[in-house]
Symmetry: C2
Subunit: 340 residues, 2 copies
């Protein structure tokens, strides 16, 4: 085993950011890869998922998972290749997804959070997108929390992003009308022409309210919210009786230094006997296989598209992460750490 001679480059959280993460909030370190204990894997990390949720993990305080500790390797989902295994069920050469963290090599226990993946179904980055957490978030969030049914009008913000892509395409497969909200004409065109949404509203053009009237003439049955802020508040004015709002994220608020802006129009929930419900994808972990199977089948049939925005090089992690909060990524943002 060569493992003890490998040097692992890692990105650690140096300071808790105030507002947008700054370069000084990160620390690049190098350390030798430790020897494997029984039950552990050594994985060469190929791709890392860059997710809005990462911003929340950098804050102190209670949330759905503990924060990343100071001087710890930044938490991230990744895809990698097993280069040494002392765990049953995993062999050298297997591809896996795991919470690898932002580093070149991951050593850890082969527990339930590690899954073997089949690159014949889709290339590695797709396993961080439609076949990974974002896909599972969109799939189970729409079906189980949003309770979307054929004939419903489904609106999703961040429509060109990782979760949004999935929500709209799953909605279409369910027989719903799918209306996206995205920033800029290029994203909107992609969402309609490539992904097959019925419509997409460019919120940057400043006509969200009119767009909702035009494209959701009977109102909104399901709103899948990835952004919060003014967009959530505007959609609240257009919901239908018994609407369901899935609170999946609030990217507009994650870098706030002031308090989060609450939805001023929340009493629309009362008028419309509607529901706003939070979701965390991990709650559906025991059903990921079902979600992966459904989406992989649609991908194979050609009725489900994915788009990734791939940035290369571990050293580019800090700048790449900022793209999410500036809406600069076009598709699921992935950091390539090593060639496949």
């Amino acid at each position: 085993m060569q493992t003890t001679t490998l040097i692992n480059r890692q990105v650690r959280l140096a300071a808790r950011p105030v507002g947008l993460p700054k370069p000084g909030d990160w620390q690049f370190t190098e350390a030798p890869v430790p020897a494997l204990a029984e039950g552990e894997l050594l994985v060469k990390v190929l791709y890392i998922s860059l997710d809005p949720a990462m911003r929340g993990w950098m804050n102190e305080g209670k949330s759905y998972i503990p924060p990343v500790g100071l001087r710890e390797v930044m938490r991230a989902s990744g895809v990698g290749r097993v280069i040494a295994s002392r765990a049953a069920g995993f062999a050298e050469g297997d591809y896996v997804t795991a919470l690898t963290g932002v580093q070149e090599y991951w050593v850890g226990r082969a527990d339930a959070s590690v899954a073997r993946i089949d690159l014949r179904l889709a290339p590695a980055p797709v396993w961080l997108n439609a076949l990974g957490m974002p896909g599972m978030t969109g799939y189970f969030g729409l079906i189980e929390v949003g309770r979307a049914r054929a004939g419903d009008t489904v609106v999703v913000s961040g429509a060109a992003g990782a979760v949004g892509q999935t929500v709209g395409q799953v909605a279409r497969h369910l027989g719903c009308r799918a209306v996206g909200i995205a920033g800029g004409p290029a994203k909107c065109e992609f969402v309609v022409k490539e992904l097959g949404f019925d419509a997409c509203i460019d919120y940057k053009a400043g006509n969200l309210r009119d767009g909702l009237k035009t494209h959701c003439p009977e109102g909104v049955d399901v709103y899948f919210d990835n952004v919060g802020g003014e967009i959530l508040d505007t959609v609240l004015t257009r919901i239908r009786l018994h609407a369901r709002i899935v609170i999946c994220g609030a990217i507009s608020q994650y870098n706030n230094t002031a308090p989060v802006t609450g939805p001023s129009n929340y009493l629309s929930l009362l008028v419309n006997r509607a529901r706003m419900e939070g979701m965390v994808v991990f709650d559906f972990a025991d059903r990921y296989a079902e979600g992966v199977q459904a989406i992989a089948k649609w991908i194979a049939e050609g009725s489900f598209k994915t788009r990734e925005d791939i940035v290369s090089g571990l050293e580019n992690f800090p700048q790449a992460l900022l793209m999410l909060f500036e809406g600069k990524n076009f598709g699921k943002l992935v950091l390539q750490v090593a060639p496949d």
Copy 2:
């Protein structure tokens, strides 16, 4: 029939209020009672329910029911005695609840909104409280929307008010821990000692957050919100996994001239996979008999208390309504229009 000689004093909406309703927003008029058409009843109004929801009915714009029109008799639920009937199933001397409006006599069709009541089960004002809309709101809101289950910790704001009284007492009957939020020590003492809540937090004492920590040490499973604003926002910080927040009203916001304050802590719904859902009691109209039967049985057994705050005289309607928004009523606020 003497009906054509009766003079009916009425309270009409003269102007749409800005902020708290002013005396000039009302108009007192007199008109002869019209002759009865086939299918109609003439009811002498005895008690009128004063409800926070009335404030919303005075505003223009879409809501769960149309606004009261300018120069129309103000909408209100009432209890009265049938003094003439041309409707099958109703006889002179029957007591009924109906949307009588704020006036001395009501003439209208004996449709599904008119219900005969039995004063042997409870005195007339109770039929505007625990056995009326507020009671049904609390009963079905807690059970069907809040999905309260034995062992849950249930928190209700406006605990000494009409809906709050019912929510806490139904919660206790379900085997829940019932914690009230009310303004001032007298209301809190009443809620605990008379109504049997497990605890009550005086929000005016300025220690709501600490009170919730003390009295809901494991967090809040169901929050029944009648008030909105800061109280809702504070409770959001203490909800448990899979909590249900019933949005029944927002009395703190009804007289706003600025936009409603949205719940800044709504992302607690995400962290806790919790739900916030609006309710309107009319949706449960076909099940009122079930709710009345359950609560009337508890009243008869002595395990359910009600408290009404009765103001006398139609002329006192404008001032009495303001008591609601100043938290001055102690118990369900009822206006007595005529002696029983």
